[in-house]
């Protein structure tokens, strides 16, 4: 859609910089969640520590995006798709920061599970993580390509994550009933499952913002 440049070229540069930062945040958050799940599977405490440290960089980019968006709104008084792009960037930066936080939360639990009794026998949590990560990836692709169809597909995918979370909850209860000594692991895994479910929600939020910025309509209205 957005195509012809602005008469004021500096405005184009500012918009492009902000978009670049959002894409950078998205890539970092996606990588953090993926790395956290790998560290969980491999019980790699050292990698997990790096993920926790790396979250500060995502937070810093979010703060920069906020400043840049506010500045651009103040200086350029954007209208129509420019305004929607900036509003979307502002909201997405907050949402992506949360995705990064969930990656960090998962990483913090690596090494605290006191065993892999459940994980070794049930791959569903990793399957759920794969879908959540794929959703984040697709949402960011949709953002980069301004692709409303891809954004719509992300929202549809969220149902799978929600369903897996529900199934896992039942599995967790069943497992802890049979293996009370795995209670600590299950408590952590339950939190991780909830974090992944929230990552799916936030990827959906990002996709909704992509849809809004491109169409001026809310994707939620289409699904209601």
């Amino acid at each position: 859609m957005n195509q012809a440049g602005h008469t004021v070229k500096a405005f184009d540069d500012e918009m492009s910089d902000i978009r670049g930062m959002i894409s950078d945040m998205g890539a970092r958050a996606e990588a953090a969640v993926e790395a956290a799940m790998n560290a969980l599977r491999d019980n790699d405490v050292e990698s997990a520590r790096e993920i926790v440290k790396g979250d500060k960089e995502i937070d810093a980019i979010e703060a920069t995006v906020e400043r840049r968006v506010v500045r651009t709104i103040a200086l350029r008084a954007p209208m129509a798709d420019d305004l929607r792009d900036l509003v979307a960037a502002l909201k997405m930066s907050g949402v992506i920061e949360r995705i990064g936080d969930y990656g960090k939360n998962v990483a913090k639990r690596v090494g605290a599970l006191e065993g892999h009794g459940f994980l070794d026998s049930n791959p569903q949590l990793f399957r759920m993580a794969d879908i959540a990560i794929e959703m984040v990836h697709m949402a960011m692709e949709a953002y980069a390509r301004r692709d409303v169809d891809m954004a719509r597909a992300v929202c549809v995918r969220d149902d799978d994550v929600d369903q897996l979370h529900k199934e896992l909850f039942v599995d967790f209860i069943a497992h802890v009933a049979k293996h009370p000594t795995d209670a600590t692991e299950i408590a952590h895994l339950l939190s991780i499952s909830k974090n992944l479910e929230r990552i799916g929600d936030h990827a959906t939020n990002c996709a909704e913002m992509v849809y809004f910025s491109q169409t001026g309509s809310n994707l939620g209205d289409e699904f209601d």
Binding site: A4, H6, F11, A77, P78, M79, A80, L83, G216
Partner: protein, 285 residues
């Protein structure tokens, strides 16, 4: 062809145009209002051989402030001036089409143009008070139109007009001072008071704030807000933020055509037409 037949035919043509492909998949804001104050249909304006306005149809209601926006030379001021026949003062200007005020054809030979301009007042880009006292600036119109039966009634009209224009508190103790001695913003509000004094139904404003500082501009915008509903107001402005702030409906003109007319909130956040979007986002040209 009678006036009514001609008008019906124009409405039918507009309806046919509205059923075109572009309008089919997008809910189109209707040009027509149920109870328009001003109703223009199929308006063309020529300056000699050059056509400045091409087949413009638009309704202006009492409830909404309407903003005309568009690049320089797009015809927005020309069209504004057709609404109180100001183009009559330009010898080479020729207006075609149908413009009605409360259903009355304003280009009818029977129309008294002086009366029309009292009903459809105008405020210009540069404040143009008469070289007279503040009082006489406002009293001028009521005097020539015989709207006051005596000094007391004229005083009342002057005070009421200055109050409505938000100027009374600043000038009430110096009504005999010259209008030209006021600041630019005060002069513009004096011109608005002068327009209001003859009890118009419509106020046309042609870039009323372009010569004013931000504070004076804010006062005019506040005034437009206060006057909304009492008068039908049409404002031409190059300031997009101003159009977005003061109006409820916006019309975008380009090369003499009306490209898009709709709710201001939609025009500035999600315009239907690519040309409108390019203009309001600063991508035009």
């Amino acid at each position: 062809m009678t006036d009514d037949n001609r008008r019906n035919e124009q409405l039918a043509r507009i309806a046919r145009n509205n059923m075109g492909e572009a309008a089919a998949d997008v809910p189109s804001e209707p040009i027509g209002l149920a109870d328009p104050k001003i109703s223009a249909r199929g308006v063309n304006v020529f300056y000699g051989a050059k056509q400045a306005i091409k087949d413009v149809s638009i309704d202006v209601g009492m409830d909404n402030v309407v903003a005309f926006i568009g690049p320089s030379g797009c015809g927005k001021s020309t069209f504004l001036r057709t609404l109180n026949r100001m183009n009559d003062t330009i010898p080479i200007a020729r207006v075609e089409g149908d413009i009605r005020l409360d259903g009355e054809d304003i280009y009818s030979p029977k129309m008294d143009v002086v009366q029309l301009r009292a009903r459809v007042g105008m405020v210009f880009q540069k404040p143009n008070p008469f070289p007279k006292s503040i009082y006489d600036n406002v009293a001028y119109g009521p005097r020539i139109h015989g709207l006051a039966s005596g000094k007391a009634e004229l005083d009342e009209i002057v005070e009421r007009s200055l109050q409505r224009a938000g100027l009374w508190n600043e000038v009430s103790d110096r009504l005999s001072d010259s209008g030209t001695a006021l600041s630019g913003g005060q002069q513009q509000r004096l011109c608005i008071a002068r327009a209001i004094a003859v009890d118009p139904e419509v106020i046309l404003m042609d870039e009323p704030c372009s010569a004013l500082d931000p504070i004076a501009t804010a006062k005019i915008e506040e005034l437009i807000h206060a006057l909304r509903g009492q008068y039908a107001i049409v404002i031409v402005t190059h300031n997009m933020q101003q159009a977005a702030r003061v109006s409820q409906r916006t019309a975008f003109f380009h090369l003499g055509t009306l490209v898009e007319y709709g709710k201001t909130s939609e025009i500035f956040t999600n315009p239907r037409e690519e040309k409108t979007k390019d203009y309001i986002t600063g991508r035009y040209g």
